[in-house]
């Protein structure tokens, strides 16, 4: 097998993706009803306009909420991997995850008490 031949499945996948995408967009183009209005034509129907000055100001609260969201998002990622190996890791794994959750809880408590969750 030549070195390039092992990439053949990837080439098939790429081709398949292109065909599916073109097919679905084409289907929508020919069959879908079109009743445009200004709100529908915006890139994002809810949220901030995608066109305009880039130096827009955001309320700093957005960042804190995003950070807190990230915190629990990452927590979920770690918990999933732990669940998969729950039995082999045993008691030590449980204690470590409990410690991890405790530290996160302390962080949440801290943010809460400092008023990071109040929006005004």
């Amino acid at each position: 097998m030549s070195p390039l031949a092992q990439y053949f499945p990837i080439a098939v996948l790429v081709l398949f993706a292109i065909v599916v995408a073109v097919f679905l967009i084409g289907l929508d183009h020919f069959l879908g009803p079109r009743q445009p209005n200004p709100t529908k034509l915006e890139p994002y129907e809810c949220g901030i306009l995608g066109v305009g000055t880039a130096r827009q100001r955001f309320k700093v609260g957005f960042y804190i909420v995003a950070l807190l969201f990230l915190l629990f998002d990452v927590e979920t990622v770690f918990l999933y991997t732990w669940v998969v190996l729950f039995m082999p890791l045993g008691l030590i794994g449980f204690v470590e995850v409990a410690l991890f959750l405790f530290v996160l809880a302390v962080g949440l408590y801290y943010a809460w008490r400092k008023g990071a969750l109040e929006w005004e």
């Binding site: 030590i92 530290v103 302390v106 962080g107 408590y109 801290y110 809460w112 008490r113 400092k114 008023g115």
Partner: protein, 506 residues
């Protein structure tokens, strides 16, 4: 191998600090928003540092004195190397970090209240940063080293920007953050290349693999090592990677500056030494020549730039750059001897001893600067110190002792520390570096003694007055005693540093 109770026992100083840091956050959050009384929080953080110090002492009794072999901790499953290691070298550095953190807590107590920076997080962040430093010193894997570096750095970025309404503090935090993130990226790139060349991120494996790669074919290892050395030179603020340091040091709250120039420098050097002695374990890469050049540039550049400063904090920042140059002389000696016969006991004890002495004298000097600082006017110009020798003899004497020690004049700790470094340089055939070191020390005498001359030889009518603070006084007395004790009786501590370096071998 699963995690054993011994792993937790060996990392107990780090765990204690993390635990107390978390506890401090809870205590601080309980007080809610708004200003609070800092004394209980500072007391709790000092108690945490003392507890970690007790753990370090107990561990020293077990692993530091050489009776029991050093322990590799947290070896993951799947044939990877240990994450951290507990040996005498680590414990000596742990003591330096705890000393720096303790003195920082002492000098910051009154300062934070005067500056209206009543944040309980300050002490929690100091503890987290100290835990990160301990991890840096004990890291046996490049990935762990990178992570511990970030633990320390992120805490320090916040500490630099603590004075939120002060533009300079913001500038300091931003510059430190951008350069820190940049150099971490360089470090990661270097780690990736070294991993590609040697097939491992564990330092013992790297040392073994590096000795098998011959220089002509070791280009990947060469580039990777160069990137790692560059990143670490940013962290220790060696010339020509020092541009961020004066601004970051000047803008940060003064106790944070003191902590940055002592604890951070010590941690970066502990890590630098371990990584350099692994990467350059045998003569596959002409490392001593490169380090030689950086050491020379740092000594000359730092000292010459310090001469023209008018701000005490900037002057001490450049002086800290210059001291990084002296420390690099020790590293050159250590790497040279490592490449010659594989031993690690030359240069490394001198680096450890120098960092203890340097921590004491720099903390003392900053404690004096902190003592005069107050809201709206920090009195940081060198001219501001004119005439205080007549009005406040105790402070002036203490300040003079610290400055003379920084200049390396006997009978102070600074002299013995420099003597050790230059002796190792001569012993490994780097007499040229020792000569440059002594000559640049002569330059440094000018800018250190200028302050002493101003304090004693110029009388002024109006002058600054210190605000009495018992904690700062205690810090000054402790560092002053330490500087004189190490200058007159360096033997016992020197012995400890040497024992520590003997257990460094892996």
């Amino acid at each position: 191998m699963p995690i054993s109770p011994q792993d937790f026992w060996c990392s107990s100083p780090i765990l204690i600090l993390c635990g107390f840091g978390t506890l401090l956050l809870i205590v601080d959050a309980r007080c809610g928003k708004g200003p609070r009384d800092l004394l209980p929080i500072a007391g709790l953080s000092l108690f945490g540092l003392l507890a970690a110090g007790a753990a370090v002492l107990l561990l020293w009794g077990e692993f530091g004195s050489g009776g029991v072999a050093p322990v590799e901790c947290f070896t993951p499953m799947g044939g990877m190397g240990a994450a951290i290691r507990c040996d005498g070298y680590v414990l000596v550095f742990d003591a330096v970090f705890l000393l720096a953190a303790g003195l920082t807590c002492l000098i910051s107590l009154g300062y934070l209240e005067r500056m209206d920076l009543r944040f309980g997080e300050f002490f929690a962040l100091i503890l987290f940063a100290t835990a990160g430093m301990m991890l840096m010193a004990s890291a046996m894997d490049l990935v762990v080293a990178l992570l511990s570096l970030e633990v320390m750095s992120i805490a320090l970025y916040i500490l630099c920007g603590l004075a939120r309404t002060d533009l300079r503090s913001n500038e300091s935090a931003l510059k430190y953050f951008i350069i820190g993130a940049f150099s971490s990226a360089v470090l990661v790139y270097g780690i990736a290349l070294v991993y590609g060349a040697t097939g491992s991120t564990a330092l013992p494996d790297i040392a073994r693999a590096a000795s098998r790669i011959d220089f002509a074919r070791g280009d990947l290892l060469l580039v990777g090592s160069a990137l790692i050395v560059t990143a670490l030179c940013f962290k220790i603020a060696a010339v020509p990677f020092h541009g961020w340091a004066p601004d970051a040091y000047e803008g940060a709250p003064t106790p944070v500056t003191a902590f940055m120039s002592t604890g951070v420098k010590a941690a970066a050097f502990a890590m630098f030494a371990r990584i350099a002695l692994s990467l350059f374990a045998s003569y596959t890469i002409p490392a001593t020549e490169v380090l030689w050049l950086i050491a020379m540039l740092t000594m000359i550049g730092g000292n010459l730039a310090a001469v023209v400063q008018t701000n005490v904090k900037r002057m001490l920042a450049y002086s800290s750059i210059a001291h990084a140059g002296y420390l690099l002389v020790g590293l050159v000696a250590a790497v040279d001897r490592r490449q010659t016969d594989g031993s690690v006991t030359v240069g490394t004890p001198d680096i450890a001893f120098y960092l203890i002495a340097y921590t004491l004298m720099t903390m003392g000097a900053f404690a004096v600067v902190v003592w005069f600082g107050r809201r709206r006017r920090e009195y940081l110009l060198i001219e501001d110190f004119a005439g205080i020798g007549f009005r406040h003899p105790f402070i002036a004497i203490a300040f003079s002792i610290f400055l003379l020690s920084l200049a390396g004049i006997p009978p102070t700790a600074g002299f013995m520390a420099k003597f050790g470094l230059f002796r190792s340089a001569v012993a490994t055939g780097h007499t040229d570096l020792a000569v440059i070191g002594v000559l640049t020390s002569v330059i440094s005498v000018y800018y250190y003694l200028r302050l002493v001359v101003l304090m004693y030889m110029r009388e002024t009518e109006t002058g600054i007055t210190p605000t009495y603070s018992p904690a700062t006084t205690l810090a000054i007395v402790v560092s002053g005693y330490g500087v004189l004790h190490l200058g007159l009786f360096p033997g016992s501590l020197w012995r400890l540093a040497e024992i520590g370096a003997q257990t460094l071998a892996w």
